[in-house]
Symmetry: C2
Subunit: 282 residues, 2 copies
């Protein structure tokens, strides 16, 4: 397990970085924080989630573990500009929702005496900013570690420790390709559906005719428009393919409905119900 | 308000009929029940949700209000076969999720001394049968009354009373055309999406990589395959059009992602977030 004397620095004190800081604090691992926003720095300090925080990137000097909670391209840029401050042996990790591009970019310039291990905590809320930080999110969330061929057992162990300290529900290990494939389906495609549904739902009176189903399918339509286009584009080969697969299946149902093919619909519904049962929780 | 001495009979003691019986019972209106399944009849009696229940359709004789909780075509057939037992002045209502066809079919043969007022309680669960009956569902559910041109104020009043006795969140009045349009969008389209997502989600390990978003979007994929193909087909003109509208919007996002059109995606996300806020509850 990560030593209680290790210096851990979180870069980016937004919703997720703030929730990390709070989670480490509650687990007895006070951490350091860096953010370009003075208010976020002040807030993290005031809540005692950080030992100290700063707007200065050099503040990461001497860190054993650096956790970036920045958006993908901001993360890449930040490392490029500030890796001179890292000490030899530092383990660098992140929270970004796409991995092939991030791993290959970081790998192309990262100092050889520092190791990057990619992580994707699958937790979030429909709000931005440290004021909405909530580490109880992690209890029912999955944590995916995405090693590249270069990663050592030591760095993978640090990533597992982070997931365990923050009390994630389940830790999985996926290759960058597997990760982006599965995320393109379970996360990105579902967000595309939710926003599409709201985009075609023009009637402001819909709320009075809405059952739980519409509410459930559109909860995530309240989306961070600064982050998601970047995530979609970074994974565009997979995501466009997943959208195409969904459209093909929607067209099946469209045709079965048109041609009144009850048995085909029944078979599809039975398959769907069976598969959904694996997910247990409603 | 409906008199406490009125004879109310619920036909079909399944999930919804059972929940109705329980709701009336809790509100101090014990009702009568009819079902072809002896177990459902026994269960309703044992729970005291009905004064009495029977497998015999003639048991509806003398009812002031008959509420069908049958599937659409079963409802039509049942009325056709048993309307001879109705007494003059009976108000007949239902719970079916599609209205144009039901109203026009029932209207084509219903006795002229009986009045049918169409209702759609927008409540349900992912289970079948009276053992899952739960009238607390209604508190956050909408109730839609769907009058035809022939309906009297008296029958519409009875429908409103039913919604109020059962404590529905909000009562709306829509024309049959408006009803089928809005239901095609908020309920039927969302079910088509949920089952399509599960149908294309072959990987049994998905559950370990799934965040809340996939869980939310597929909750309703656990679907009653005996009922839903019928609902889809009854509303096929609207539903196929709604599927086409969704596919067109999904294709927009597909193209924007492919061509890296960040600004168009941002605008769509901002619109989606704004509209979703009207729905309040997460």
């Amino acid at each position: 397990m990560i030593s209680h004397t290790a210096k851990i620095t979180i870069v980016g004190l937004g919703l997720l970085g703030g929730s990390y800081a709070k989670g480490f604090f509650q687990a007895g691992y006070p951490v350091y924080g860096i953010d370009i926003d003075e208010n976020a720095v002040e807030y993290a300090r005031k809540m005692h989630w950080v030992k100290d925080a700063s707007m200065d990137p050099a503040f990461c000097e001497g860190s054993d573990i650096i956790i970036s909670a920045l958006y993908p391209h901001t993360f890449i840029q930040w490392v490029k500009e500030n890796q001179a401050y890292f000490k030899p042996g530092t383990v660098l990790t992140d929270v970004t929702g796409i991995k092939r591009e991030v791993i290959s970019e970081i790998g192309s310039f990262l100092r050889k005496d520092v190791e990057y291990i990619a992580c994707h905590p699958m937790a979030g809320r429909e709000y931005k900013g440290i004021r909405y930080a909530d580490c109880s999110l992690f209890k029912k969330a999955n944590f995916i570690i995405v090693p590249s061929k270069e990663n050592t057992e030591r760095a993978i162990g640090v990533a597992e420790d982070i997931a365990n300290i923050l009390k994630f529900r389940k830790v999985s290990i996926l290759s960058p390709e597997e990760h982006d494939r599965v995320i393109g389906f379970v996360s990105q495609l579902t967000h595309v559906i939710a926003i599409s549904l709201m985009n075609i739902g023009e009637d402001p009176k819909l709320v009075d005719y809405t059952g739980d189903s519409f509410r459930d399918l559109t909860r995530i339509a309240n989306i961070n428009e600064d982050l998601w286009p970047e995530l979609f584009i970074c994974n565009k080969d997979v995501l466009t393919e997943e959208i195409d697969r969904l459209i093909a299946k929607l067209k099946d149902y469209r045709d079965w409905i048109e041609n009144e093919e009850t048995e085909k619909m029944r078979a599809g519904m039975i398959e769907a119900s069976e598969r959904r049962k694996l997910f247990g929780r409603k």
